[in-house]
Each structure stands twice: as structure tokens, then as C-alpha cells.
């Protein structure tokens, strides 16, 4: 794609609080995000809450490339925070949105990100109520970094925590694993596969809220982002002192994702997801949980993939493999390096 070198770009002055800053907010950001132009821009948003129990979370987003199959940094920044609220048992309510932009970023590209943020926020029924923009010199950031913080109303039905988990509980996985991480690494490194992969980037709050409303017996939820399913399960095992046994045959994996991971020598269990959750549920409620999930577009291949067990020796996550063997699933220790041959 040819880039128009004369296209308007973000300048240092766009972040210094002066005229250009004001123009960027009023002419570029607000028209994309606000339903109506606010009559005044205050220093803080005022929220009327329906409950005393809220969940509050924050996360920063850096991703390369900014636009990838199935999403972009804007969508990611909304979904990521929505999902953190979702797995905490909250219904997302309000979002803050802050940008750190490297000078030279084309305004058109920024507008595409804003458009994506707006669309994603609407789909996930979360309002963007406050925000900030800073600019930094070229080389001090990589195009654009986004921070979002979110507030959600904790659902009355939600009584979640590591301490609720008992031996005999089941491990529910809401869908395929590894899609986001393998899409990003393949696109970043320019590795092409016959079938296109797509990031699973999506907000899961509607599904988790539905699940919590419908079923008693949900004890814990977590979105398996960085470190993937392996990190999430190991964290549960570590925090509870219990062990976990999962069955490889029951873990849904998109065949292209598996093929891509095989080519690069990566273990899909440790690859990031951005639209999935793991729930620990009571054995009695497990089947109903799967049923509810499968009625939702984001949970079509949800399944029970394993069981929480009493620890025999040291707490561990073990997997029964496709051929009936067993192996340990360790906590990933950081980004794996693709192999040589």
C-alpha cells in the first residue's frame, strides 16, 4: 500500500495542552467516540452507580502490528478491559481511554483506531467516560500505546474466588485456544498459511453475565491472555494447592493455529487468547454451563476440559495426551523462541 507522505500526522504539539490538543480532542477524538458532543469537558467523569459493589481494573495495550486479522489495538484495548471485568463477575459500565502517541502517526490511522474503539464499546455496552492524550517524540514509543481502565457493577450472583475451588470441580473452556497469539506472531513475521487465522479478540462479558445469571456453581473465572491456558491453569493450581488434570482430546484448537504452532515449534497451550475464558464450576453444574455457553456465538465449542484433583505430591497441572500418555503442563516462562529447524 502506498502511503501518502503528505497525510496529516500527529505532532508533538497535539499533546501539549494547547490549541492543537484541543483541536485533536474536539475534531478527531470526540466526533468518533461521543454520541453527542458534551457541552463541557470536565476533568473527571461523574457516574451514578446502582450498586455499592464495583469492580475496577486497568490494563495497557501495546501490539505490533496495530491492525491484525480479527482486530486492532483499539478493539483489543476495549475488549481486554471488558474481559477483566467480566471474569471478575462484573457487568461492564464505564471505561477510561488514554493514548500515548508517537509523533508522525497518520491521523487517518488514528481515526481508524478510534472508529474501532467506538464500535467495540457499543457492542460491549460500555461507555467511554473519560480520557487523555499524550504525544511523545519519534522513537520514544512505537506508534501508539493505549491504556484503558474499566468499572463494572459486580453481579449479585457472582461469588468467585480461588478459595471457592474444591477437588472434583470441573474446568470449563469457552472456545478454541491460541488464535490471537498465533495470528499476531504469524503476521508479525510474515509467515503465511493456506487458511487465514483470525485473532479471537472479543468481549466476553455478555456471555459471562448470562452464565452467572443462569447457573449457580460458578466458582472462578479467568481470561487466559498472556501465557495462555497453561498460565491460567498453573495459577489456579498454585493459588489453591490443588492439582488439575486436563484431557487434550477435549481442548478445541483451530487446525491452522495448531499447524502454525507446529511450524514454529510453539506449544499452543502457552499461546495468548483475547476472547476466551476458563471457568471452574461445580461438577453438578458443568453440563448446564456448557449448554448455556454453546447458545452464545462466542461459546459455540465450549467444553469441559478437565477436573480439579486433590494434590498427591506437589500441586501440578497434568494433561492426558491424545495417545493416552501423560505430561506436565508447566507455567510458561516467557516468550518462547521459535526453533531453528
Amino acid at each position: 500500500m502506498m502511503r501518502n507522505t503528505d497525510a496529516p500526522k500527529i505532532l508533538l504539539a497535539h499533546g501539549d495542552g494547547g490549541l492543537l490538543s484541543d483541536e485533536l480532542i474536539r475534531k478527531t477524538i470526540l466526533p468518533h467516540l461521543a454520541k453527542e458532543m458534551p457541552s463541557e469537558l470536565n476533568d473527571a467523569a461523574r457516574l451514578e452507580l446502582s450498586s455499592k459493589s464495583i469492580c475496577f481494573t486497568t490494563d495497557s495495550y501495546v501490539v505490533k502490528p496495530l491492525f491484525f486479522n480479527g482486530g486492532d489495538i483499539g478493539k483489543l484495548a476495549v475488549c481486554g478491559t471488558v474481559n477483566d471485568l467480566a471474569v471478575s463477575g462484573a457487568r461492564p459500565l464505564a471505561l477510561s481511554l488514554s493514548f500515548i502517541i508517537e509523533t508522525g502517526l497518520e491521523i487517518e490511522l488514528f481515526e481508524k483506531i478510534l472508529e474501532s474503539i467506538k464500535k467495540t464499546a457499543e457492542e460491549n455496552e460500555i461507555s467511554i467516560v473519560t480520557g487523555d492524550t499524550k504525544t511523545v517524540e519519534a522513537g520514544s514509543a512505537d506508534k501508539i500505546f493505549i491504556n484503558t481502565a474499566g468499572i463494572g457493577i459486580r453481579m449479585d450472583e457472582a461469588d468467585l474466588g480461588f478459595s471457592k475451588i474444591r477437588a472434583g470441580d470441573k474446568v470449563l473452556l469457552s472456545g478454541t485456544i491460541g488464535d490471537h497469539g498465533m495470528t499476531i506472531i504469524s503476521q508479525r513475521e510474515g509467515i503465511k498459511f493456506e487458511t487465514e487465522m483470525n485473532s479471537d479478540c472479543a468481549g466476553i462479558a455478555k456471555l459471562t453475565c448470562k452464565l452467572l445469571e443462569s447457573i449457580k456453581g460458578i466458582k472462578f473465572m479467568r481470561d487466559p491472555t498472556r501465557g495462555g491456558l497453561a498460565a491460567t491453569l498453573n495459577e489456579i493450581s498454585k493459588q489453591t494447592g490443588l492439582s488439575i488434570e486436563i484431557d487434550q482430546n477435549l481442548i478445541p484448537i483451530n487446525p491452522t493455529v495448531q499447524a502454525a504452532a507446529d511450524v514454529l515449534g510453539l506449544d499452543v497451550l502457552g499461546v495468548a487468547n483475547e476472547g476466551k475464558f476458563v471457568a471452574i464450576v461445580s461438577a453438578e453444574s458443568a453440563d448446564d454451563c456448557v449448554k448455556i455457553c454453546r447458545q452464545h456465538p462466542l461459546g459455540k465449542v465450549a467444553s469441559i476440559i478437565g477436573t480439579i484433583l486433590e494434590t498427591q505430591d506437589v500441586p501440578a497441572v497434568e494433561m492426558i495426551t491424545k495417545i493416552g500418555g501423560r505430561r506436565i503442563v508447566q507455567m510458561p516462562y516467557g516468550l518462547e523462541l521459535p526453533r531453528i529447524c
Binding site: K322, E336, L337, C341
Partner: protein, 359 residues
């Protein structure tokens, strides 16, 4: 699929009973090592069958002197190091590329083509490509060396650490570890060299050589074929990875290797000096040879203190027998290369085979 697995498992069990002693099968391919661990194959095998992981991981077999040389070259201000990812964490004497680099002079590449592109994009620097790997990656190195010659890309050279599999197998059987009963031969390498290349092992050492693919079922069937041969008292070279491996291999890739390289004596971690076991650039390409350009002579360096990667690579000990394993040496803080590479035997044991000790 399960039927085939049960059938193969039964055959292996019977063979183990009939032999009346442990059967030692060595795989010489990092991808096999990882596949065996990830699929949990060991747990499905009878006790009498020992799977040994041999010198099959390119990073692991690279001698300490190579790593130290790389670190010295990386200190030069007019040099860019282009390397496959696995190499950057391998510790040398006084650090690794990851810890010692001036952050911007080491570039991780996914293919040799990326390395030549970096040279084109940085005409004020000399790009040194760390050409490691077996016959699998050597053709890709050959292609860029020929390209550099054709396009006169003079700010480019390679530090060849390429190695040949068969000489290493010979060296093992000739003294380092003669307890190996058979080889599960590497899939990727055999695509290039063909399963006929193991004929000399069969002829001179009477050891079965069977090439298998990477699916768990292919690995188990490969082991079953080996057991079958051992029980029959036979030793043949055979491929059950028929979709990819032929007797003669990939002739075009072999031509590229012979156009650019010649076999030379060289050092291996754990195995020491092996005759005609490494690939050195031919004289006509010597100007792209970093050894020549920087006047480097290859002399073996001592391994890092306490590291037993050499013995691991020869199948003489299992990683947990090394006192550093899981304590001083972990994937987060590796002492030896077998813990660095995702295909290293120690990393595989650590990740898939061991329970964490109570801390």
C-alpha cells in the same frame, strides 16, 4: 488411530520381553525430542525401552567456542549479528547475546533471507549471519551465500556452525556411547539427505535406522519398526515418513550444499572433534566466510563449569542427573544450551517431564 497405537505398543512390549534387557533407542532430532515429551509417549512405553535424546538440537551441539566467538564479534561496533532466535540466550563466557548486546546490533531472523535483507538495508555495517543447524538449514544458508556473491553484497558474511548428522552418529557408536541399540532418525534432516544416508551406520555398526515423522503415531510406529528389527536380529535403514522422505532425499538441496560447502573437521559440544562433520564454505565463497574475514581460528573452549550438557547430548545421563538441573539451570536462567533451546533435552524434561519441587 488408537488401534494403530495399541498394535505398535504391543509390538514394543513383546520386543522388550524377548530381548531380556533394556533396549536403548536414541532420537537425533530436537523436534522428535519435543514431540515425544509433548505427546506423553514415554508414559505409554514399557519399562524396558529407554528413549535417549541425542545430539539433535542445533543450538545444543554448537560448541562453546562458537558461542564465545559470536560474543566477541558482537562487540564490534560496525557489525550486526543476524541469528535465529534460539541462539541469543545461549550463555558464553561472560554473558549471552541477550545480556551482552548493545541492544540494537543483534537481529533475530526467521529465515536466512531476512539476514541478507538486513545486509542490504544496512550498507554501513557488516552483517554476520549465525548459520547454525544441520542439513535442514544449510541449503537456506547456501542460497543466500550464492545470492550475496551474485548481487555482490560484500557487507555480508556467515559464521558457519552447520553440522552433519551421520558423522555424529558414527562418533557416538565409535566410543562415546556404544549402548545405543538403534536410531530414530530425524524427519527434517532426512527430507534433505534421504534415508539412504544411514546405510553406512547399518553397514558398519549393525544398528537399525528408522526415519519417522513428528505425529505421535508416527513416532510410536517408528519405535515399533525398530523393535521389530531388533527382535529379528536385523538392521536396516527405513523410512516410515513416506510422505516426505525418500531414499535419495532432496537432490536440489544437496546440490546447493555441495556448491557452497565442503565437509570439514569440527568441534561439537559433548562429542569433541569429529572428522568431516561440519560444513565450511568452499574457497570460492571464502570472502563470505566470517572465519576468514575476521581471522578466527577454531579452538575448543571449556564448557561452563558444572554444565553436563555434553553428557546429556551423548545420551549418557538424563537431565535430572545433572546437579544444576532445575536449580541453578532453568529456562529462565539457563546455564547450558540444552536448557535454552525450546528443542533442548533439558528444556523438554523441565517443561514436560518434571514436577516442581516444593519450595
Amino acid at each position: 488411530m488408537l488401534d494403530r497405537i495399541y498394535k505398535a505398543q504391543n509390538l514394543i512390549s513383546e520386543a522388550c520381553k524377548k530381548q531380556g534387557r533394556a533396549i536403548n533407542i536414541m532420537e537425533v532430532c530436537g523436534t522428535h525430542t519435543v514431540a515425544i515429551f509433548r505427546s506423553g509417549i514415554r508414559a505409554t512405553l514399557p519399562e524396558g525401552l529407554n528413549l535417549l535424546s541425542g545430539p539433535g538440537c542445533p543450538v545444543c551441539v554448537t560448541d562453546q567456542s562458537y558461542i564465545d566467538t559470536v560474543l566477541e564479534l558482537a562487540d564490534k561496533s560496525d557489525v550486526l549479528i543476524a541469528t535465529y532466535g534460539d541462539m541469543i540466550r545461549v550463555p558464553g563466557h561472560g554473558g549471552s547475546l541477550e545480556t551482552r548486546q548493545p541492544a540494537n546490533n543483534v537481529k533475530v531472523v526467521f529465515s536466512s533471507q531476512d539476514a541478507i535483507q538486513i545486509a542490504k538495508d544496512n550498507s554501513d555495517k557488516t552483517v554476520i549471519f549465525l548459520a547454525v543447524g544441520f542439513e535442514t538449514t544449510a541449503p537456506a544458508t547456501g542460497v543466500i551465500v550464492m545470492q550475496a556473491a551474485r548481487e555482490k553484497i560484500e557487507n555480508f558474511c556467515i559464521l558457519s556452525g552447520h553440522k552433519l548428522v551421520v558423522p555424529a552418529m558414527r562418533a557416538l557408536l565409535s566410543g562415546k556411547n556404544d549402548k545405543i541399540d538403534a536410531f530414530l532418525c530425524p524427519g527434517h534432516v532426512s527430507v534433505i539427505i534421504g534415508y539412504g544416508a544411514y546405510e553406512e551406520i547399518v553397514r558398519d555398526f549393525k544398528r537399525p535406522c528408522v526415519v519417522a515423522g513428528f505425529e505421535p503415531i508416527q513416532i510410536i510406529e517408528g519405535l515399533a519398526e525398530i523393535c521389530h528389527q531388533l527382535v529379528e536380529g536385523a538392521a536396516e535403514t527405513k523410512s516410515i515418513y513416506k510422505a516426505a522422505v525418500t531414499e535419495k532425499g532432496n537432490l536440489k538441496a544437496q546440490q546447493i550444499i555441495s556448491e557452497c560447502f565442503e565437509a570439514a573437521d569440527g568441534y561439537w559440544r559433548g562429542l569433541g572433534k569429529i572428522d568431516k562433520s561440519t560444513l565450511k564454505l568452499k574457497d570460492k565463497y571464502s570472502r563470505f566466510d566470517a572465519y576468514q574475514r575476521y581471522n578466527i581460528t577454531e579452538t575448543p573452549h571449556a564448557e561452563l563449569e558444572g554444565c553436563r550438557c555434553g553428557e546429556v547430548l551423548c545420551g549418557l545421563i538424563r537431565p535430572p542427573e545433572c546437579s544444576l538441573f532445575g536449580k541453578k539451570c532453568t529456562p529462565q536462567s539457563p546455564v547450558g544450551p540444552c536448557m535454552v533451546s525450546s528443542e533442548g533435552t533439558c528444556a523438554a524434561y523441565y517443561k514436560y517431564g518434571t514436577r516442581r519441587k516444593k519450595s
